[in-house]
Amino acid sequence: MTGYIASRLPAYAALAAAGLVAGLALGRVEPVALAAPFLLALVAALAEQEPQVSARVSLDRDRVIEGDEVTAVIELSSAHGIHRLELFVPLPPELSAEEGQARAVRLRAKEEQTVELKLRCDRWGAFSVGRVLFRARDALGLRSWEGVAGEARPLRVFPSEETLRSLVPPLETQVFAGNQVSRARGEGIEFADLREWQPGDRLRRVNWRATALRRSLWVNEQNPERNTDVVLFLDTFAEVRADGRSTNDRAVRAAATLARIYLQRKDRVGLVGFGGFLSWLVPASGTRQLYAITEALLTSQVVSSFALRGVDVLPPRTLPPKALVLAITPLLDDRTAAALLDLRARGYDLIVVEVSPLELAAPAPGSSLELAHRLWRLSREALRWRYEQVGVPVVTWREGVPLAVPLEEVNAFRHLARPA
């Protein structure tokens, strides 16, 4: 704890000393009488002892969703009592306190007091809350002591999710059972085709109507239900941020939504954070993978980097063959654009969801930046055209539009383009 004296105390000491000296020099009592109250104030200030403060911080919840409220409870106590104890709880920019982060209370000796702070979680992320800065003052504010108390507590704010009724079906499925109807033939529920009976076919697969028409045995063929491998490719090279909104925030929300829904369908989902800080999660299924992806998303952040990166730096198991790669990117960095084209060239089923930065970077009407903005939009159009030429659907997700809308555009693109 660090002690401080009020700025007026040295002035009081100087006044008192000057009064005593003037009294001696002039032989008068009035300067001494003038100095007396200030001497008394000095004694009152110096008589205060350094206080002992104990603080314990707890949160009513440590895992919440964006927009939720958390109550931080601060339990204070002091052995000798404190006339005025000022508290300040430092918060990251993503959290806000409804009634301010600072409080001033009085602590009686050996009595515990509780202070509650309502925190609003404005944005997703992993935070530490709990360190409390305090300042203890005496009754007149002549002396103060400052210190830090409490221990940081982890707080996980999960991204809010979009509502999706249907997902983009992959072109290829994997060999394990799942919820996705495969294009292959095998045991399943969905009817696929008819063929002539072959030795080994089960009797229950015989299509008796077709058999009666053709006077030879014909059997049904089904499409089996298989799972898929989905890799969420999150671009963290760059973002556009304005007025508290960011393309990276929306990208993380989209990734969290897609991960949860694909994992619910028993698909295997992996994650690649492609940017200044490279991170990856090998595709897996189940609740454990959902938690792992969510934790990875909470700590993802845009890190500026000039390093040249390509997809060849990723471990091979991160991008399994025939996986559906869903790239969520603002298409701001050339390295991401090149990496995605590389993925397409390697034969991956690639879909690009462009998190539009145009709404966040619009120039003022009539400004000189309008021409630069138009050129920038044209370059983005050209990049989208390059992707479409190689059969990669690029859909733009604008602010305020549900995620389901661009995903439906993917289905429409595939229906018209009919990729091989």
Binding site: R8, P10, L15, A18, L26, P31, L34, P37, L39
Partner: protein, 139 residues
């Protein structure tokens, strides 16, 4: 007396500036006020000015209330009793200061060779002051 008005006005102006700039210069304002009063008293000649304790307490109140107003600008939401406690503390300090200053003024009226009793009382007062200083320094 009119010759000391500029000094008092200057002290008041410095006080206003100190309040406007977060208390910086408060000591200078108090010093100017006190110096103006002492100079006026010295120029007035012999005789004890009975208003000296009152002037002392008014200067102290000026300093304390100014500091309090600056502290309240912090904008920290306090519990209601904290303001009352500080007000009471300032009032107690002012009354105690008034009593001590009045005692100093009254004791100065006693002739220096009044007798053994007063000498012992003076010595006890000096010992008490020294003891208070030692006790405060050791805390």
């Amino acid at each position: 007396m009119a010759a000391f008005v500029p000094g008092a006005v200057l002290g008041a102006l410095v006080l206003v500036v100190a309040l406007a700039f977060g208390g910086r210069g408060l000591g200078v304002a108090l010093f100017l006020g006190g110096a103006t009063y002492v100079t006026a008293v010295a120029a007035a000649g012999t005789g004890i000015d009975a208003s000296a304790p009152l002037v002392a307490v008014l200067l102290l109140l000026c300093g304390e209330l100014s500091a309090w107003s600056v502290d309240e600008r912090l904008g920290i939401r306090p519990t209601p009793d904290l303001a009352w406690r500080r007000g009471v503390g300032i009032a107690v300090l002012a009354l105690a200061g008034l009593a001590v200053a009045t005692l100093v003024d009254a004791l100065s009226a006693v002739p220096s060779s009044h007798g053994l009793g007063w000498t012992v009382l003076g010595a006890a007062a000096a010992l008490g002051a020294a003891g208070t200083g030692i006790w405060v320094a050791r805390r």
